[in-house]
Structures are given as structure tokens and as C-alpha cells.
């Protein structure tokens, strides 16, 4: 007889003593004597701690769970250590102790096939099966005809299952697409399905389907060319072929990319390309992105629509050399402006001296000057072998290439870096520099400089110097820059358009950073010229050089230097040349 005083936690004594294996304990609400343990029951969505007697049976456990999770007992499937807990088992038999976690799956009503009815014959023979299999068909309105897995149709059905049988068709469709996009295997499987193929070969149907998409409609309104494309059955069929054959698709993409880069090198082609991108591709991308719901990397970085990439194409122009002129003009300044050989080393190949694509504008902002970057550079310069290894690795090259070809991808990737997430200004900066940066990385000369420890060291020194300057004389910087850059005599108001273009050079120290940046940007723009695609300044300024030559300025290097400094402005260049080379006056007359 039960003695209330000896029960622990109010547990009733079982009539049969401890729970037996295989014994049906359904009629016993509580376990027999035993300590209470707390077991965590975890579903994908939820977690609950359930107190149960240590020697309780699974059934009893499920009773508790059913109350807590508000689910029917026969919907519960418990898994522990990879084993499914059968009702007749006991918790201790499975080693379920205090503090452990048991996994729970609550079978949903529209489960395609009742657990065990199709796959494991064992469940039908399990002792407590009376509970589960009896009620599950009743609870399972879903067609029991669907076999587990195989078969084209089966797969499609499982796709629907993956969509969680959502009542919302749109949602389901989206998910399906998402699955498709990310799973090439599935895509080809689907393509192979004759039903689908039939559908595909009917261009009318395809067109209808595509037009039904509201975003496409919008797009088509804006760009009638797209609807042309859609109406061309030949094109459609080709696209279908493509979709079916992923390898071919890749090939096609590659060709397209190559064609695009060829286009770029045609003068004026760059602009056309850009136009094309901004008008067509960008909205298309964003529409596609919205539709498919996942540019995988946008999910990664939580990035807002970064379609505002300034230019999709690589910027082939070499960045003018922010290091070069100061580098070479520092010694030359004191020397009173010898524009001889020292300046040539700086100007002939700007990209070499600017391998990291370090935009001088960034100097005003702490990123590259961060101690981390410094130490990184230091490490790099101390260990040229490592850099060499890194850069010569074949995958590095191809990675850079692919990144360069797809700046959007690269920017997404960069944005992932948590460092950027808190600093939108930095992001902007980086984003705009990105194409340049990538281009630089591909330049073999740039690479060789990176492996040259002394060069790297020099770079760092410069950076440090500039940083010091910046802190010492913030107001001085903007006005110093022009003179540094042009290699002119310090203090002489240079004739170049530079100072005039920089209204923001007010030396308010609080504003120096943005002011500097602006200055740099403007200067860079000036140097970069108007989007010409030639490689070197000599080529760019060919006409001007010729003119200068004709006028009698025979020092080609000096001419070039002056032209670069003034951005191709002949008159200004002449002034500069005259200003720094008094002897030239003699030769003219």
C-alpha cells in the first residue's frame, strides 16, 4: 500500500514495480519509484526541460511531452544518440540521464507517409505500434500513394514537401526556385523529367510564364529590347538548351565575359558597356535577386542592394602614381626641381609603385594606416618568400581574375568582412576602389613589387611619413599636396588647376579627412583623365606631347611630367615647364 510519506515528489507506487521492458505501461500515469531527472527535449523550434522519473518508460515520457508541447503522443518521435525511442523502451535503457538532451520531432498532420508505414516494417511489429500506426493513417490525409523518394514525380512531390506544404503558392514557388538555383543537381534532374522538357519546348508557354512575373513586366516596360528577346523563339530555345546543360551554360558565360572585356578595349566601348549595364543588367539583377530571393552572398552580408556599383568593368587606366611624384620629388624638391631621371622612374609606370591600389584619399582615413595594416605590411615585407608563394599560387591568379571579372561578387565578398559592417564610409571607399585594386593585383609588375621587401618597406615609410604629416600639420596638407604632386617648387602657387579645383581645402582640422579625400579624389580624376583606355600617360598625352615638342619643348620627360600634373592641359603644362626650367625659354626664342 502506498505510504504518502515515502513517495518522492508525490510519485505513486506502481503496482507492478519497476517498468518492464516491453511491458505496456500505458495505464500507469506515473513511474514507479525512482529519482526524478530533468531531461531537455529539443525540437527544431523549441526546447523544454521535462522532469520525469529516471526509470520511466518512453510512453510515459511521451505523455509528459505531449502535454508540454501540445501535441498528440502519436505524433511524437523521440531520438536519442541516434536511436529512435520506442514506446516500450525505458529511458534508462537508452542511457537517458539527468541533464541530457533528447531530440523530438513532432510529425505534422500532412506527413507524406506515416513514419514506418512505408519504410521500416519494424515499426508495425513493434509492441506499442498499436498507438502509432493505428492513428497515423487517420491523421494523415496526404495521399499514401506517394512512395518514398525515387521517381521524377516523387522528387517533385518532395519538393513540395520541402516547401512545407505552404498554402501560399507564391512562397512555395520561391522556395522551389531557391532550391533550384542552389542545387544544380536538382536542376538537371528536373530538366530531365520529360514533363518538364515538354513544357520547355513550348516557347509560348515559357514566354507566358516569364511574362507572368511582375518584375519581368516592369523590366520589359523599361526596356523593350528585352521583350524582343523573349519573343524570339530561337533565342528562347537556345536558352532552354543552356539551362539544361550547365556545362554549356558556363561556357557561354565565359564567352560572354570574354566578349565583354574585348568590348571594353574599344575606345568608347567602355561607355557603351557601362550604359548597357546600368540600363539593363542592373535592374535585371535586382529583379532576379528579388525573385529568387537569394544572391547567396547578399544573404551573407546582409547587404543592401549593391547594384549601385559605379562600374562593372575593370578600370584599365593605371592609377596615377601618388607615390611616384612625392617619392621622386622629395629629393628633387630640395634640389630645386630637377625634373630629370628621378621623375621618370615615378611616372613611367604608376601601377608599379602603387601595387596595393592605395588610393591617397584613403590616407586621410584610418583604414590603411591602421596598426593592423601596418603590421600586415611589415610582415609582408619581412617575408617576401611568403608573398611570392601566395602570389604565384595558381589559384590566387584565377581567383583574382574571377574577382576582377565580377566586381560585384568581389564587393559582396569584401562586405562580408565584419570589419566593414560598422563602417559604411569605409565600405563606400572600398567599393569604389575595388575594381582598381583588383586590376592592380593582376599586374605582374605590381606583384613583383609586392615581393620586393625593400619596396614594401619604402611604401610603409611613406605611409608613416604622410601620417605624421597629417597629424602635425593638418591644415598644411591640402595645400602641400599640389606642390608635392607636381614636383614644383614648394610655396610657389602652382599653375595647375589643382588648387582651383579644391574648394574644400579649408584647413579646419575636423574636416581635413573628408577634405583631403575630396582633394585626392579630384586629383585622381584629373589624372585619370576622361576615361581613355590607353595604358600609359605617354600614350594618353600623345597629342599634347607632340604639340609641346613642336613648340620646342624637347625634354620629353619634363613634358610628360608637366602634362600629367596638369591633366593634359597644355597651357598649364607650358607654364609649369617654363616656371621650372628657365633655361628652356632660351631655347624657344
Amino acid at each position: 500500500k502506498l505510504d504518502p510519506s515515502c513517495s518522492i515528489g508525490g510519485v505513486k507506487m506502481a503496482e507492478q514495480g519497476a517498468a518492464d521492458l516491453g511491458n505496456n505501461n500505458n495505464n500507469k500515469p506515473e513511474a514507479s519509484e525512482g529519482t526524478i531527472i530533468k531531461v531537455t527535449v529539443k525540437t527544431p523550434k523549441d526546447k523544454e526541460e521535462i522532469a520525469i522519473a529516471e526509470d520511466a518508460s518512453v510512453t510515459q515520457f511521451k505523455e509528459e511531452i505531449s502535454k508540454r508541447f501540445k501535441a498528440k503522443q502519436d505524433q511524437l518521435v523521440l531520438i536519442f544518440a541516434g536511436k529512435i525511442l520506442k514506446d516500450g523502451d525505458s529511458l534508462s535503457q537508452h542511457g537517458i540521464k539527468d541533464g541530457l538532451t533528447v531530440h523530438l520531432v513532432i510529425k505534422t498532420a500532412h506527413n507524406r507517409a506515416a513514419d514506418g508505414s512505408s519504410t521500416s516494417a519494424s515499426s508495425s511489429t513493434s509492441t506499442q505500434a498499436g498507438n502509432s500506426s493505428a492513428s497515423s493513417p487517420a491523421a494523415n490525409p496526404a495521399p499514401t500513394t506517394v512512395p518514398t523518394g525515387s521517381g521524377g514525380f516523387g522528387d517533385l512531390a518532395s519538393l513540395a514537401g520541402l516547401g512545407m506544404g505552404s498554402a501560399n503558392f507564391m512562397e512555395l514557388q520561391q522556395q522551389m526556385q531557391r532550391q533550384l538555383m542552389s542545387n544544380p543537381e536538382m536542376l538537371s534532374q528536373i530538366m530531365e523529367n520529360p514533363l518538364v522538357q515538354n513544357m520547355m519546348s513550348n516557347p509560348d508557354l515559357m514566354r507566358q510564364m516569364i511574362m507572368a512575373n511582375p518584375q519581368m513586366q516592369q523590366l520589359m516596360e523599361r526596356n523593350p529590347e528585352i521583350s524582343h528577346m523573349l519573343n524570339n523563339p530561337e533565342l528562347m530555345r537556345q536558352t532552354m538548351e543552356l539551362a539544361r546543360n550547365p556545362a554549356m551554360m558556363q561556357e557561354m558565360m565565359r564567352n560572354q565575359d570574354r566578349a565583354l572585356s574585348n568590348l571594353e578595349s574599344i575606345p568608347g566601348g567602355y561607355n557603351a558597356l557601362r550604359r548597357m549595364y546600368t540600363d539593363i543588367q542592373e535592374p535585371m539583377f535586382s529583379a532576379a535577386r528579388e525573385q529568387f530571393g537569394s544572391n547567396p552572398f547578399s544573404a551573407l552580408g546582409g547587404n543592401s542592394d549593391s547594384g549601385a556599383q559605379p562600374s562593372r568593368t575593370e578600370n584599365r587606366e593605371p592609377l596615377p602614381n601618388p607615390w611616384g611624384p612625392p617619392n621622386s620629388s622629395n629629393p628633387s624638391e630640395s634640389g630645386g626641381g630637377t625634373t630629370g631621371s628621378t621623375s621618370t622612374s615615378g611616372t613611367t609606370n604608376p601601377s608599379v609603385s602603387n601595387p596595393l591600389g592605395v588610393n591617397p584619399a584613403s590616407l586621410g582615413n584610418g583604414m590603411f594606416n591602421s596598426p593592423g595594416m601596418q603590421s600586415l605590411l611589415q610582415q609582408i615585407s619581412e617575408n617576401p618568400q611568403l608573398m611570392q608563394n601566395m602570389l604565384s599560387a595558381p589559384y590566387m591568379r584565377s581567383m583574382m581574375q574571377s574577382l576582377a571579372q565580377n566586381p560585384e561578387l568581389a564587393s559582396q565578398v569584401m562586405m562580408n568582412n565584419p570589419l566593414f559592417s560598422g563602417n559604411p564610409q569605409l565600405q563606400e571607399q572600398f567599393r569604389s576602389q575595388l575594381p582598381i585594386f583588383l586590376q592592380q593585383m593582376q599586374n605582374p609588375e605590381a606583384l613583383s613589387v609586392m615581393t620586393n621587401p625593400r619596396a614594401m618597406q619604402a611604401l610603409m615609410q611613406i605611409q608613416q611619413g604622410l601620417q605624421t604629416l597629417q597629424t602635425e600639420a593638418p591644415g598644411l596638407m591640402p595645400s602641400l599636396w599640389p606642390s608635392l604632386m607636381t614636383g614644383g617648387i614648394p610655396g610657389v602657387p602652382t599653375g595647375g588647376a589643382v588648387p582651383a579645383e579644391n574648394p574644400a581645402s579649408s584647413p579646419s582640422s575636423a574636416a581635413t579627412n573628408p577634405a583631403q579625400q575630396q582633394l585626392m579624389q579630384q586629383m585622381l580624376q584629373m589624372f585619370a583623365g576622361g576615361g581613355g583606355s590607353s595604358q600609359t600617360p605617354e600614350v594618353r598625352f600623345q597629342t599634347q606631347l607632340d604639340q609641346l615638342n613642336a613648340m620646342g619643348f624637347i625634354n620629353r620627360e619634363a613634358n610628360l611630367q608637366a602634362l600629367i600634373a596638369t591633366g593634359g592641359d597644355i597651357n598649364a603644362a607650358i607654364e609649369r615647364l617654363l616656371g621650372s626650367q628657365p633655361s628652356l625659354v632660351v631655347s624657344i626664342s
Binding site: 510529425k107 514537401g161 542545387n183 547567396p296 591602421s370 565584419p418
Partner: protein
């Protein structure tokens, strides 16, 4: 409990950086990382993984990453395919929707870990789950931006 099915469970581990991390990490991060790990759980003849698009599956070794760097045998599970599917459905509705992907804190390895625990009660090797915190501790310290990006893997790591 005798006749329940037993399905082998394996963990496929890929190094997304293709070896780059092992070489570059000392320079870029100041710390040796042997790889940027991506994992997939292989059971019932399919490979399951989590990415920016949500939970996916494919045939084993069927992702763009090809063959895994290493395979860890995690034993067996009794969970059959249907039950597993239900479980995944639940996950996909709750914790592992497509938009929950976070490269550091809720990534493919988080998913693999959870799934493997569900299936077998074991966890995946800790060097994989420790990776994000390792990287984070170095990225912020060195200001480095150059964590090797996942190479052409749709779903990241």
C-alpha cells in the same frame, strides 16, 4: 528495439580555401588556420548542407566543391529518411531558413553540428566549430580584410 534500420552518418569536410588558408593565414591573420571549413552531412545517400539559400541537399560529393578533404564517420542513426525529412522541414521553418545564414555564427557548420547531434547524439569535431571565433579574434585584431573568400561555393561556409 532490434529491427530498426541503421543508417550510416558521415560528415564531409571541405576546405573552402583550397589550401590557401593554410599558407596565408599566418600572414593575413597572424595565426595558423588549417582551412576554412565547410561541412555537409551525408546520410540516406544524400549530402545535406546549409547555405545562403537555406537547407539543401545533393548527391554526395555533388556540390561544386567536389571531393571532400576529409570524411568523418559518425556512426549510425536509426532515423529514417522520412523522419529526417520532417526534421529538416521543421528546421527550415525555424532556425535554418535561408535568411538566417550568418557566415560566422550560423553557418553550414552550425547546421551540420545540429543535424549530427540529432542523428547520432555526437558533435562534429571542434576544430570546425571553433573556426569562426578564431577568425573573428584575428580579423579584428589585425584589421585584415583578406579572409580568403569561399571559392565559388554557392553556399559559403
Amino acid at each position: 528495439m532490434a529491427q530498426n534500420n541503421s543508417f550510416p552518418v558521415k560528415l564531409f569536410i571541405y576546405d573552402l580555401s583550397g589550401g590557401m588558408a593554410r599558407q596565408l593565414s599566418p600572414v593575413m591573420l597572424g595565426r595558423q588556420l588549417d582551412g576554412i571549413w565547410h561541412t555537409g552531412v551525408v546520410v540516406h545517400g544524400k549530402e545535406f548542407f546549409f547555405g545562403g539559400a537555406g537547407i539543401n541537399n545533393c548527391l554526395p560529393c555533388g556540390t561544386i566543391l567536389g571531393q571532400p578533404n576529409s570524411i568523418v564517420d559518425l556512426g549510425y542513426t536509426e532515423v529514417n529518411e522520412d523522419l529526417f525529412q520532417e526534421y529538416l522541414d521543421s528546421l527550415a521553418e525555424s532556425e535554418y531558413r535561408g535568411d538566417t545564414y550568418n557566415m560566422f555564427e550560423h553557418n553550414c557548420n552550425t547546421f551540420s553540428n545540429d543535424v549530427v547531434q540529432f542523428l547520432t547524439g555526437k558533435k562534429i569535431p571542434s576544430y570546425i566549430t571553433d573556426l569562426p571565433s578564431e577568425i573573428l579574434s584575428t580579423v579584428l585584431a589585425t584589421g585584415s580584410f583578406a579572409v580568403p573568400p569561399p571559392l565559388s561555393c554557392w553556399d559559403g561556409g
